[in-house]
């Protein structure tokens, strides 16, 4: 503090103003630099990706190695399957934990569980891949859609837990008390009053978690593994869009690079759409709470 005042006295007002303006300019340039990178990425996605996108991309299987043409229909399909599986794993555990923490949990137990979900949130995605490999792939002796969906589902749990706990807690206490005053058991109040009130926020949490895992590649490398054909069996290796983008990007073929960009555009549009969809649920929840 002393030094600061001393420094201020040593300089004239004008010097200090100039220093102030210079720093603002530097900070502004930082912001500009970050935006430049974002727009550079989007620009390349648009230029390289959209020009390579065509109808074939959505309906055709990949061609044989090195051959031109083909698409990623199997990868888009595979990603959808994996996301459905992830939801089946992530939503029940995440939602159940969130509701339990907010409605029932003893504070010390709640603290431990919250801490563990935070820990889970910080675990690198590839570690979930290893875990799914040891508990699914090794016993089943094959890479499979199930193990990939399991790994993605685990990654969704911490995010869903947090948001559902938050939104269940936000339901006004009067609603709870009104239900209980009617003689309804607490569990019916939770299922019939509280959950329907909080559903908008919970859905948003689920969608945001889904958008995050939709682009994950690392946990799928040795669980879903990838597949050059359509796969409808959950116990077989399955293709996924991020995996295919990765494979094509590091391949030596120009046509595959082109398709990697196209896949990247489809992937990012998918992620952004899910995020926007998530915002829709938040706004519908707001309508509910202001409408009362």
């Amino acid at each position: 503090m002393k030094e600061m005042i001393q420094k201020a006295f040593d300089r004239t007002r004008l010097q200090r103003e100039i220093w102030d303006k210079t720093m603002v300019a530097v900070l502004f340039l930082c912001a500009l630099g970050v935006l430049f990178i974002l727009f550079n990425i989007l620009w390349h996605l648009i230029v390289e990706g959209i020009s390579s996108l065509n109808f074939d991309f959505f309906i055709h299987l990949p061609k044989a190695v090195g051959e031109k043409g083909g698409g990623m229909a199997n990868a888009i399909w595979g990603t959808l399957i994996l996301l459905v599986l992830a939801v089946c794993v992530g939503v029940p555990i995440g939602l159940g934990t969130g509701v339990y923490l907010s409605e029932y949990a003893h504070y010390r137990f709640a603290y431990v569980v919250r801490f563990m979900t935070d820990v889970m949130n910080g675990i690198p995605s590839i570690v979930f891949g290893i875990f799914a490999y040891t508990v699914c792939v090794l016993p089943m002796k094959t890479f499979s859609a199930l193990s990939g969906g399991f790994a993605l589902g685990l990654m969704m749990i911490p995010m869903i837990t947090r948001t559902s706990e938050q939104f269940v807690k936000m339901v006004p206490g009067q609603l709870r008390e009104a239900g209980l005053a009617l003689g309804i058991p607490q569990w019916r109040v939770i299922l019939d009053v509280i959950l329907p009130s909080a559903i908008g926020g919970i859905m948003t949490g689920v969608m945001v978690a889904l958008a995050r895992v939709a682009g994950e590649t690392a946990p799928l490398l040795f669980t879903a593994f990838g597949n050059r054909y359509f796969s409808h069996s959950l116990t077989q290796p399955i293709a996924a869009l991020p995996l295919q983008v990765f494979d094509y990007a590091i391949s030596p073929f120009d046509d595959w690079h082109r398709q990697a960009w196209a896949g990247a555009v489809v992937l990012i549009v998918m992620v952004f759409l899910i995020n926007i969809w998530a915002q829709y649920f938040v706004s519908s929840r707001k309508r509910w709470s202001t409408g009362k």
Binding site: M1, I37, G96, T97, G122, I126, T161, V245, A249, N275
Partner: protein, 309 residues
Amino acid sequence: MSRHDTSDLIFRRTLAVFPISILILVAGILFQLVYSSLPSLSKFGLGFLLNSTWDPVAENFGALPFIFGTCVTSFVALLLAVPIGVGVAIYLAEYAPPQVARVVSLLVDLLAAIPSVIYGLWGIFVLVPYMRNTLQPFLGKYFGFLPFFQGPNYGVGILAASIMLAIIIIPFIISVSREVILAVPQVYKESAYALGATRWEAMSNIVLSHGKVGILGAVILALGRAIGEVMAVTMIIGNNVVITPSLFSPGYTLASVIANEFAEADSNLYLSALIEIGLVLFLVSIIVNILARILIWSVTKGNSAEGVR
């Protein structure tokens, strides 16, 4: 009444299965990692972390080159990302007009939502050629006397991966530091202005010193992201088992060696060595995250840590 109590009890017990399953899961992950890396743990012991050989053919495994690669890339990434990220956060919290701040924050969130495989794709086709043709020749020409900027110029390598990591963690640093800065009480700044401080003086002396613990938390959280980042790094670091001071040289990180070699590991020992690397990654990221959360919590009183993915 008692009928309600029984049904409530059943519901409560059933619901308790879910939080307990989370506890079992985390414990299970730790157990599986330790159990599956037992062959490597018992063969190499602690020397695993200090051995710089990685030879799958002779089955001699050491993690030192990967630990080195992860440390160097994360450190350089933080060196680049922290000043820029905190700078943007200050700009958004203090200087930018509200509409601009809102739009820029939205765009920063967009940057955070880009999947890492797309960063990697951009890295291969945009960043690496730029490194090869422009930045690395420039650094080599003017700063070539430093050991960091010597050696052959491939484009791919530790420096490219570090810059990639910096780009990936900047959005996290921005959003967390912005919250920390906004959490500094308005009164403090106003009293500084009342004493005749310029905005920058108020910012650097009052706000930043008040929020430095929280910003440190943000930095450590970003470090956790950098350590655990897989795809973007794997795609442009060059995958070369080496320990060298040169940033131009291709390298390897903990996460990327798992990504690259796991599916082709043919022997039991090879696989368990890779899983042991996963165990190292798991433990380090848990420590880093706990540290970061304690720091951020101490500043924002638990309000904002959940805003962070």
